[in-house]
Amino acid sequence: MFSKKPNDSEDNSSANSQNQYPEYTPEPAAEPEQSVYEGASNRINPTKPSIISEGFEFVGTITSDGVLNISGVIKGKVTAKSVLVDSTGLVEGELFSDQVMVKGKVLGDINCDELNIGPLAEVDGSVSYDSVHIQRGGKIKGHFIKK
């Protein structure tokens, strides 16, 4: 056993010294970025989300086949495959979507399949849904209809 050791360590050190250069530089930077991006896009939709940022106010009708993230204000009708109303977001008007996640405020009717309401959310309006999850603390007023 003792006689083996120096041989092993010699082999390893020579192998390591060759491997060290490629291992060092690219991997730590590239890997986490890629996995975060893939994870986010796979979870919701392969297409990039459309974003209404905080401070942005839109008046009118929005139609999208993809994902819509709302952190700003929308006054009007919204139609999309998946809608996220973020904590700073506000929708005043109708909301049509397969999947709706509300963390902010929706004043108006919601028509969707899957509705998820966060703990700080506020919803006032008629809601028609197929499946609903309301987290404790969400403030909801209005008429609920299960499709």
Partner: protein, 108 residues
């Protein structure tokens, strides 16, 4: 927790049908059917339970069905097998995925 102190509690077993109005000082646990108004400190409707009438309580936990009217002055939890119809007044609400709510929601 319920079994430890049963004074002031109402238990409606599975298969039991109760008709009338009930005022329960503590916990009302319903696995059967209650037809009429029920007021309690806490109402638990088990998965086989059904209340057809007006329910008033501080906190309400629903795995079964409540029809007509429901008032929860503190907290309302509708579990995944729960079904609520009619007008609902609540202070704090939670609906698990799969839970069903059909009616008007009012915040107290």
């Amino acid at each position: 927790m319920v079994e430890a102190n049963q004074s002031g509690c109402l238990f409606v077993g599975e298969g039991v049908v109760l008709k009338g109005n009930f005022a329960v000082p503590d916990i009302a646990s319903v696995s059967g059917v209650v037809e009429g108004d029920l007021s309690a400190k806490q109402v638990i409707v088990e998965s086989t339970g059904l209340i057809r009438g007006k329910v008033t309580a501080e906190s309400v936990d629903i795995r079964g069905e409540v029809a007509e009217q429901l008032t929860a002055s503190r907290s309302l939890i509708i579990r995944s097998s729960g079904k609520v119809g009619g007008s609902v007044h609540y202070a704090e609400i939670e609906i698990e995925k799969g839970g069903s709510l059909h009616g008007d929601l009012h915040l107290i």
